[in-house]
Amino acid sequence: MTSKINVQDKSLLPTLLKKQKDSPFNFLSEDDVNSIAKELKLSRSRVYSTASFYSEISLSPRGKHIIRVCCNAPCENAGKEAIREAITKELGIEIDETTEDKLFTLESVNCLGACFMSPAMRIDDEIYGNLTPEETVKILNTYKKEHVDE
């Protein structure tokens, strides 16, 4: 009745995340999936299975920055919907959509572990809390500005 986890399986998730991070469009292409399968000696379907399971991983191209709005109860109660609306109004995208300039993709997430500062959102690796619609737009603008400066 013992369970065994293969070493190759164990390194799969970190490999998928790293490859995604290296992608300019924040996603794993079919070529990526195939090359990871080859590298880790796993079947393509096995690699695709893990990639398709986690919402953290995308199998279609996304924007440069991923905005994740928390939709769990504490954030919901603290006014998450107004934050979501402010983002939609500012960027013209709904959940799971990408801006035309490919700068932002909006997603929802089931808890960022930041309930103490709800409503919260995450942009790439940064978490922002105690948000107001105005504050949210300001934050978005810093990312836009950064892009223009580049």
Partner: protein
């Protein structure tokens, strides 16, 4: 040391081994707990939750398949809570399942339907929510109907861990879960080997062979066609199971009578062609030894195995024997030799094979398999398809008379009979190679070291004073081990038999449902009994084969043999 534990099962105090699951403990004590994802030859999955039971002290019900017994454990398998839960789970599965049972290919042997019957489900309270996936008809051998899939994971398990081909797997999450190749690709778009082990593993009608019985009925009813049939070595020890009879029955005579009832003009035996295969393959091995050809030589009878090496290890194709499989040797000879002997023009001859195999369908359709000037084998049916044809005509298998195969392609030897078991081709080849090389009679015909269900077997045989090292692998995960050892230069074997399916052809993907390893063992034993009882047990002693060489082929590896009975395979890697 006593490795038993004391448990209480539904009030009965019993002692069971400490290492087993609750499901196994219950089974050994008179209770078969229901399950859909559990399979005796597979790892525990605990996907379906249909086997849940109550364990005292545990808040939640536990899956009995994945929970080990423990000393003092108090288990209840039929409380109201258990019964209600199991019923609800199955009702939920049924709500997702198309209600097409009457026209489903698994009508009569569907495990979900049997479970629903066992639980007495008469009313599904859950709201139906059947997704409509397109049916995948792209493969030349298999049909995948994802609408019927219950996500038990048995096909993925066999595809990944028994065969290690890795085509089918579970994708996405929650209500979106689906079992398919990556990106929901069709079977024709991935490197499937057509072994059909997924079909055997499936409890429902989500994946099955492409049924070609109507082509055979059409041919039989066509007065212009002379329809002949060949039966693979393993069919005679498995067809009875299609009629609910126990595994391991030898029913050669009844099989012949059943086929004659269907209306075939001649009933021939693939065993005849298996003896021819030994003549050609044995001589090819001798030639490779003499001329410094590529060694180890790998057998080529199993089309799933050929699909595998062509797609995954094409760099090793030079090791593969150039011999066609017995099915294809038969087809090529039927439309040349038999046509000549019978005076029936080849274009009128329609060759049907009864095979334990789904990959044989693919093989029959290959471009390379037209050396008679026609498609050598017109239709390859699985054991299950033959079962369907026979049932539809009211066949009562157990009371059929004992028939005889027809001449000139019906005689065979014990060597051919054992082709159906893992190690059988090797043993048959050794019997002939030994006598040809030494010129002496082989005293003991049985090569026990290459028999049995162990994944990779090896043996060293002394032939005329020189040791010949041989190996046998069955199931593609074991074939992979052998191929890797060849690649790394560690395989110092002369001759290696590889069969795609576990147990060899008796465990093929076209065999009756319920082909567990225990049943495979029964079928293997039946083949060895058959061999032992035969008058002739060496391929080169088959009088019909001798006549074939005298009257038509000349000699093994001769010009006609080369044209009709040999081929070459090519790189098909993706």
């Amino acid at each position: 040391m006593n490795n038993n534990v004391e448990i209480t099962l539904n009030g009965n105090k019993i002692s069971v081994p400490a290492y087993i699951s609750i499901m196994e403990a219950a089974k050994r004590n008179g209770i078969n707990l229901p399950s859909l994802c559990h399979h005796p030859d597979q790892r525990v999955k605990a996907h379906c939750r249909v086997c849940v039971v109550e364990v005292e002290g545990r808040k939640n019900l536990v899956p009995s398949c994945s929970t080990q017994v423990a000393d003092g454990m108090v288990i209840k398998t039929n409380t109201a809570r258990v019964r209600e839960t199991v019923k609800t789970i199955v009702e939920l599965i049924l709500a997702d399942h198309p209600q097409e049972c009457l026209t489903c290919i698994r009508n009569g042997n569907c495990e979900l339907r049997q479970l629903s019957d066992k639980l007495g489900l008469t009313n599904i309270q859950a709201e139906p929510s059947v997704k409509r996936y397109p049916i995948d008809l792209s493969s030349s051998t298999l049909v995948r109907d994802n609408n019927k899939c219950i996500k038990c994971g048995r096909c993925a398990e066999v595809c990944h861990h028994v065969q290690e081909v890795g085509i089918l797997y579970s994708h996405n999450r929650s209500t979106e879960i689906c079992i398919s190749p990556e990106y929901g690709k069709k079977l024709s778009e991935v490197s499937c080997v057509h072994c059909g082990q997924c079909v055997l593993a499936c409890p429902v009608g989500a994946i099955y062979e492409k049924d070609e019985t109507s082509k055979v009925w059409d041919a039989i009813q066509d007065p212009e066609k002379h329809v002949i049939v060949q039966t693979a070595p393993s069919i005679r020890v498995s067809i009875a199971e299609e009629f609910g009879l126990p595994a391991g029955n030898v029913s050669t005579g009844k099989l012949v009578s059943a086929l004659r009832n269907l209306g075939f003009d001649k009933i021939f035996d693939t065993d005849f062609a298996a003896d021819v295969t030994i003549m050609e393959e044995g001589n090819e091995l001798l030639q490779r030894l003499k001329t410094g050809g590529t060694l180890p030589m790998l057998t080529s009878c199993s089309p799933g195995w050929i699909n595998y090496i062509e797609q995954y290890y094409p760099e090793l194709l030079a090791h593969v024997s150039s011999c066609k499989s017995p099915q294809q040797m038969f087809g090529a000879l039927a439309k040349t030799y038999y046509s000549k002997v019978s005076g029936i023009p080849a274009e009128k001859i329609f060759v049907v094979s009864i095979m334990p195999c789904t990959a044989k369908k693919y093989e029959a359709q290959r471009e390379e398999m037209r050396d008679s000037g026609f498609q050598d084998v017109d239709v390859a049916l699985t054991t299950r398809e033959l079962g369907r044809m026979l049932r539809s005509t009211g066949t009562d298998f157990s009371t059929l008379p004992e028939g005889q195969y027809d001449e000139p392609m019906g005689d065979s030897t014990g060597a051919a009979a054992i082709f159906g078991a893992t190690g059988g081709v090797m043993e048959a080849a050794l019997r002939t190679v030994y006598e040809v090389l030494t010129g002496e009679e082989l005293k003991k015909l049985e090569f026990e070291e290459v028999r049995g269900m162990e994944g990779v077997k090896s043996s060293t045989v002394d032939i005329a004073g020189s040791p010949v090292k041989v190996a046998v692998a069955h199931g593609l995960s074991n074939a992979k081990k052998i191929l890797e050892s060849i690649k790394s230069g560690k395989a110092d074997y002369t001759f290696i038999e590889v069969m795609c399916c576990p147990g060899g052809c008796i465990g093929g993907g076209g065999q009756p449902y319920g082909s567990t390893n225990a049943r495979r063992q029964e079928r293997i034993e039946a083949l060895y009994r058959l061999d032992k009882d035969m008058e002739l047990r060496k391929s080169h002693e088959n009088p019909a084969v001798k006549k074939l060489y005298d009257d038509f082929l000349g000699c093994p590896l001769g010009e006609t043999s080369h044209k009709l009975l040999h081929t070459h395979y090519s790189d098909r890697s993706a």
